[in-house]
């Protein structure tokens, strides 16, 4: 007991009870959800508009450049291409909501079935690459921050700068040449579904995942480094050191969560580059993913397929950014309160 019990009267009680915190969280989640849905709507409009405003229509492509204009017009009518923009958009979105993404005019395949088939390949590729990039970037970035005034830190930062300059496709080609053709450690290209042979599935993913992750981790190292340097200058880090934590444990216990706030933001933004990288890498390693599907569809002017694929990619990006927004609530208790 302190000398007297009177002096505590002026101290305010703890702010923000549990109840108000929960309400705040719910409101925030609903706002984020609204933003997510609105972005998706706008994105779908833009995708549909761009795909339909492009020169060179499907009917022309199907019948060939030298086709009779009357026949082209007849086919347009048959496909419903001459109806107003919003009617066709509504039809597309309506179908989407019931799980029908349309049918390709060219291959007469269900777009939804095609995308579902290829989606797994890209998802594994990007997912593994993201995880691997983090596994590399967090320790390396932390090291570079802790030793930033030391030659080892300089070298690490320098190497990550160098990594930034490497395009993913070049890393991929080098990996194919070195590990696939020369050393023969891993298959140089192709894909085996997980359900068929898990060991072969993994073996086929190693090189593409590594080439994609290498470049990503170079970017992330820089963000982890600067986030860690910021934490190192924070008062709470100094407090942690003053109560007896050594450098690394102090960082892990009190720095990681705070630093991850900014790293997670970058992670969400990086997903876009990662997907673009995946499209390229799928070409290099002949993986049957969404990227290959998209490039093929673009080359064939298979607009229904392009629309569907791009929408799925956009959905993935928006969804991940929605999850990033939610993770802030998990990471930072200050955001959980109603203001």
């Amino acid at each position: 007991m302190a000398g007297s019990g009177t002096a505590t009267g002026s101290a305010p009680a703890v702010r923000g009870g549990t109840a108000s915190r929960r309400g705040g969280v719910l409101v925030r989640i609903l706002i984020r959800l609204g933003v997510f849905l609105a972005s998706l709507l706008v994105a779908s409009l833009i995708i549909f508009w761009v795909c339909n405003a492009l020169p060179g229509n499907v009917a022309q492509a199907m019948l060939g450049q030298s086709a009779d204009p009357a026949a082209v017009r007849a086919l347009e009518e048959q496909l419903g291409l001459n109806r107003p923009f919003f009617v066709r958009y509504g039809e597309w979105i309506g179908g989407m909501l019931t799980g029908d993404m349309g049918t390709s005019y060219l291959t007469h395949q269900q777009v939804g079935v095609q995308i579902a088939e290829k989606f797994g390949v890209t998802a594994w590729l990007v997912g593994f690459a993201m995880v691997l990039a983090l596994l590399i970037a967090v320790p390396v970035g932390t090291f570079a921050a802790l030793r930033r005034r030391h030659w080892a830190g300089f070298v690490t930062s320098g190497l990550s700068q160098l990594g930034l300059a490497i395009p993913a496709f070049w890393a991929g080609i080098m990996a194919v040449w070195l590990f696939g053709v020369w050393l023969r450690w891993f298959p140089a290209n192709g894909y085996v579904p997980l359900t068929e042979d898990p060991a072969q599935w993994l073996a086929h993913l190693v090189l593409p995942v590594c080439s994609l992750a290498l470049v990503q981790s170079a970017v992330l190292v820089r963000y982890v480094r600067s986030a860690t340097i910021e934490v190192l200058s924070e008062d709470y880090y100094r407090t942690a050191r003053a109560v007896g934590w050594r450098e690394i444990p102090a960082l892990l216990r009190h720095g990681l969560r705070n630093a991850s706030l900014s790293v997670v933001t970058v992670l969400g933004l990086q997903l876009t580059t990662l997907l673009v990288g995946a499209i390229v890498i799928e070409q290099v390693f002949a993986l049957p993913g969404l990227g290959s599907l998209l490039l093929q569809a673009v080359a064939q002017r298979d607009l229904v397929m392009v629309q569907g694929t791009v929408l799925v990619l956009v959905l993935a990006v928006l969804l991940v950014n929605f999850l990033v927004d939610l993770s802030y609530l998990l990471l930072d208790p200050r955001l959980r309160e109603r203001r």
């Binding site: 302190a2 505590t8 703890v14 100094r238 407090t239 050191r241 003053a242 109560v243 050594r246 208790p333």
Partner: protein
């Protein structure tokens, strides 16, 4: 033998001329020593040097002994277990001193668990007890609060609890009340004094506020430009200052002796830094 013996301590940052030169002082067990001086005089650097928390590009030379153990050059693996246990520190800024993402009770409890073998429940019980010791109302509620849910005074009490819970021999306080308003300042100082007594800890109290100094300390060190210019019992220094800078500091605090409307005294009226000849500063 004194608890803390600082001999000929010099600190330099990088290749710049030394920030501290030839610092000598001792603190006996249980003593309250105030360290005053203006901003930039090297008070905080002295504290960080004792804590072994100077940035890596700083070099400290001389000797700092705590209970006979030499701290300068002590590897972090051996020094870290002493921090928070044998000596601890309270910083100036309570608003940012706590991890914003961890409940404050856990932050205090982990200081116990870091240094003592104790179960989660034991650490929690000790923490709740300590939170009560530093006069926090409703310790259970504070334990589960995040830093942003507490006021500045409450946060500084939590930091005090962290610094005191392992009953260290020496607590260094670096302007612990400067960021608080005056009424809260008084409460925190009272809690500090009370708990220093309870633990029997010595205290190195850094401040530039003479009123605060006189409430906590019985000895005083006066620092100027990285050197200690005067040291002694609080009473004798306050009544009979030897160094002109100390005389100036004391005079500026005597606002009751200023005639209304007249110019306030400044330290410069009593003490002027020796002129430095151009070119000699760089050589340091």
């Amino acid at each position: 033998m004194s608890l803390l013996e600082v001999r000929n301590l010099s600190v330099a940052f990088g290749r710049r001329p030394p920030t501290l030169t030839g610092i000598d002082f001792t603190i006996d067990a249980g003593a309250r020593v105030g360290l005053i001086g203006q901003s930039g005089s090297g008070k905080s650097v002295t504290a960080l040097a004792v804590m072994g928390l100077l940035p890596e590009y700083a070099t400290a030379t001389g000797s700092i002994r705590l209970g006979g153990t030499e701290l300068i050059g002590r590897p972090d693996a051996l020094f870290a277990p002493m921090r928070g246990n044998d000596l601890s520190m309270v910083f100036q800024e309570p608003m940012t001193a706590l991890d914003p993402t961890m409940k404050v009770g856990r932050q205090v409890a982990e200081v116990v668990r870091l240094h003592r073998k104790s179960s989660r429940e034991q650490a929690r019980a000790l923490t709740l007890d300590m939170l009560e010791q530093v006069d926090l109302p409703d310790p259970e509620q504070v334990y589960d609060a995040f830093a942003h849910q507490l006021s500045g005074g409450q946060r500084q009490r939590v930091v005090l609890a962290m610094a005191l819970i392992n009953q260290p021999d020496l607590v260094i306080c670096d302007e612990p009340t400067t960021a608080l308003d005056v009424t809260v300042q008084q409460q925190v100082l009272r809690v500090l004094r009370h708990n220093l007594d309870a633990v029997g800890a010595a205290c190195l109290f850094i401040t530039h506020d003479l009123a605060v100094l006189s409430q906590v300390c019985d000895q005083v060190l006066v620092m100027l430009d990285g050197a200690i210019v005067e040291a002694g019992e609080l009473k004798s220094v306050f009544t009979d200052p030897q160094h002109p800078y100390t005389r100036g500091l004391l005079a500026t605090a005597r606002l009751d002796q200023v005639a209304p409307g007249s110019r306030l005294p400044t330290v410069a009226d009593f003490y002027r830094r020796p002129e430095r000849t151009p070119g000699t500063e760089v050589a340091g």
